[in-house]
């Protein structure tokens, strides 16, 4: 019995290998078009198997495109009206005099839909993460289990992370819109954690594609208590990292310019937990806002000296 199973398994493996030899290198990408196939035929355990080719999911109905056009035009009209009112849709005196602003708050399911959760299950790990509304719809609850067991694919060395990230703002005709946080200098979070340290990430959609993994990070240490915490993180404390590696050439996070004419302004905010401790985690977030802390005069918290000066 065991022998039969082993034989069957080996046959299927060989079958796959044969298919792999047959399809690779030229015809493979044409038959099932995923980028990973161009490099390897290994599909990570956490990713979904591709069943439908991309061209099949295109919908060519006329009525639907008409509806989409109507929605986009109404969004464009709204944007033009907001352009007349002032920057970011607020009147000028409000914009110039504001010192605090709530950017994300969690009161309904549509507020939750603005966020995306992810964990290392996408690379084959075993962490789980869920996002739901808290009690009385007053906060969002991000909870789950962190599992640092490394997926056995021969190339991953560390694992165990969960996070949630805000979806980028989209304007009319699917243009990217950015946040203008130039009036503020700190992030203000009202959270209730369980004592675990979290990392706050800010992604500024860069102009150059080789900077697409650039993130500005800082840590948020939560207390476990039953009381809500108000954490202020100044933007001068955020350091630059790329693909998780802290960079040598640091520069301060530029907060300015939300208009669509600028391609390197703040795009999304995210939270990650990856403190190498197995077990459940929980974070309740009431709102995420911005603060102009007048007592905070630091421009950048890290040294800007040249790392390798040319002699």
């Amino acid at each position: 019995m065991a022998l039969t199973t082993v034989l069957l398994k080996s046959v299927s493996l060989r079958g796959r290998c044969f298919r792999h030899d047959f399809l690779h290198p030229l015809i493979g990408p044409l038959l099932n078009d995923s980028m990973s196939k161009l490099y390897s035929s290994y599909r990570r355990p956490g990713s979904q198997p591709e069943k439908k080719p991309a061209w099949k999911s295109v919908d060519l109905s006329f009525k639907k495109s008409f509806d989409v056009l109507k929605t986009q035009l109404s969004l464009l009209k709204k944007e033009s009206k907001e352009h007349l009112i002032g920057p970011g849709g607020q009147p000028w005196d409000e914009f110039l005099l504001e010192q605090t602003k709530v950017v994300w708050e969690f009161r309904s399911q549509e507020d939750l839909n603005k966020w995306v959760i992810s964990s290392d299950a996408e690379i084959g790990g075993k962490s789980e993460v869920y996002l739901k509304l808290g009690r009385n719809d007053q906060a969002a609850l991000l909870y789950g289990t962190l599992n640092t067991e490394v997926p056995r694919d021969g190339e991953t060395k560390y694992s165990g992370y969960c996070g949630m990230r805000a979806k980028p703002l989209v304007g009319s005709f699917a243009r990217r819109k950015y946040y203008d946080w130039s009036n503020f200098n700190s992030l203000y979070l009202r959270v209730r954690g369980d004592g675990r340290p979290w990392m706050v990430n800010i992604y500024t959609d860069p102009y150059f594609s080789h900077q697409k993994d650039d993130l500005y990070n800082y840590f948020m240490f939560t207390r476990g208590g039953p009381y809500w915490e108000e954490i202020k993180i100044p933007f001068s404390k955020f350091f630059l990292s790329s693909r998780g590696r802290v960079q040598d050439n640091q520069h301060p996070l530029w907060l300015d310019k939300a208009s669509f004419l600028w391609a390197s302004a703040i795009c999304t905010l995210g939270f990650t937990i990856g403190d190498k401790v197995d077990g459940p985690f929980q974070l309740e977030i009431d709102f995420i806002g911005l603060l102009n802390d007048r007592a905070h005069t630091e421009e950048f918290a890290y040294e800007l000296y040249e790392m390798n000066p040319k002699v």
């Binding site: 352009h83 920057p87 110039l96 150059f208 310019k257 391609a263 007048r294």
Partner: protein, 346 residues
């Protein structure tokens, strides 16, 4: 910046500008433009911030493409007429392509998208150079080829520049971007009249340079780059703040100041050319840019204590004011009574 590098870049800028404005052959004009493009690149990317690098790359790509188009248009002309003289551009395709290429170089609509972002990514002094010195060679080429340009395209681009410069500048809070949009709309005014009275273009450009230099140098002294910082600049440099307001109103084209002269003369010339609707459209569109100049003047000088501000007041500045500011400010506010001296020459 390293003094060597500074010397080489400054000398190259002067060289490139001189080569272009003194050239008769298209190749020399193109050479000067390219030298200018390459020389300003280290100045824009001086601080190695990703924003500055992005501005550098955008500037280089646009200017290089525009220079290549200029060369291509002169090549088409040389192929059909056999000569490379700048003032004798006769092939219609050449003329059309040259108009578009110079528009790209200057930042006229619809080739203006690079301009605000490049100015935003560079420091205030480099932004000053980009809006004044780097515009001089293309304007010279426009002046030299003024009777070979394509009139409908040029008028369309000019009116569109005045329109978009005003409209998109309405919601800006960053001063360099506001000045970029003001530059775009002034360029619109400059190019609408070039076919009919090229000297007016030169006059508008010179007065625009005067006013913009005064503004950039004043902003540089008080380290302000945002509208909210401008609101508290009166604590640092009250006199400079007051003169900044007057210069802004001059740039907006309000009568007692010199900024009114080019607008008046251009409208007069357009009316003489039976283009009254264009003149009316331009005058109405300049109201949009007047709105944001007034907003700058309002937030910097007209609102004074006890208003509340949300910016930390900077109590000191370690920048000495450039003595040139005094000269430029006096000229930009008081030069209008001297206009009878200028009028007979046009």
């Amino acid at each position: 910046m390293n003094p060597h590098a500074k010397l080489i870049t400054t000398a190259s800028l002067i060289l490139g500008t001189t080569i272009t404005i003194t050239s008769n052959h298209w190749a020399m004009a193109w050479t000067g433009l390219e030298i200018n493009t390459i020389a300003i690149i280290p100045m824009i990317s001086k601080s190695h911030h990703p924003r500055a690098i992005e501005a550098t790359i955008k500037y280089f790509l646009v200017q290089a493409a525009a220079s290549a188009s200029i060369l291509f248009s002169s090549l088409i002309n040389a192929w059909s007429t056999g000569q490379w003289d700048i003032t004798q551009l006769t092939n219609p395709t050449s003329c059309l392509l040259l108009t578009a290429a110079i528009a790209m170089k200057l930042g006229l609509v619809p080739f203006h998208f690079w301009f605000p972002e490049v100015l935003q990514g560079s420091s205030l002094t480099t932004a000053l150079l980009l809006s004044t010195a780097m515009k001089f060679p293309p304007i010279t080429i426009l002046l030299l080829t003024s009777n070979s340009l394509n009139p409908p395209l040029l008028t369309l681009m000019a009116v569109a520049s005045a329109a978009l410069g005003g409209w998109t500048g309405l919601n800006q809070t960053q001063l360099r971007k506001i000045l970029a949009f003001s530059s775009i709309s002034h360029l619109g005014w400059m190019t609408v009249i070039i076919i009919y009275a090229p000297k007016l273009t030169l006059l508008t450009f010179l007065l625009y340079t005067l006013l913009t230099s005064a503004i950039f140098l004043s902003l540089n002294t008080s380290h302000t780059t945002k509208l909210s910082t401008l609101m508290t600049s009166w604590t640092k440099t009250p006199m400079l703040n007051a003169t900044l307001m007057l210069i802004l109103l001059s740039l907006a084209g309000l009568p007692p100041f010199i900024g009114f002269l080019p607008k008046w003369l251009i409208i007069q010339e357009l009316t003489k050319q039976e283009m009254t609707s264009t003149a009316l459209t331009l005058a109405l569109l300049s109201l949009l840019s007047l709105f944001f100049y007034l907003r700058l003047a309002y937030s910097s000088s007209i609102t004074l204590p006890p208003n509340s501000t949300n910016q930390t007041k900077h109590w000191y500045t370690n920048k000495n004011a450039n003595p040139l500011i005094a000269i430029l400010t006096s000229l930009s506010i008081l030069l209008l009574p001297l206009s009878p001296l200028i009028l007979p020459t046009i």
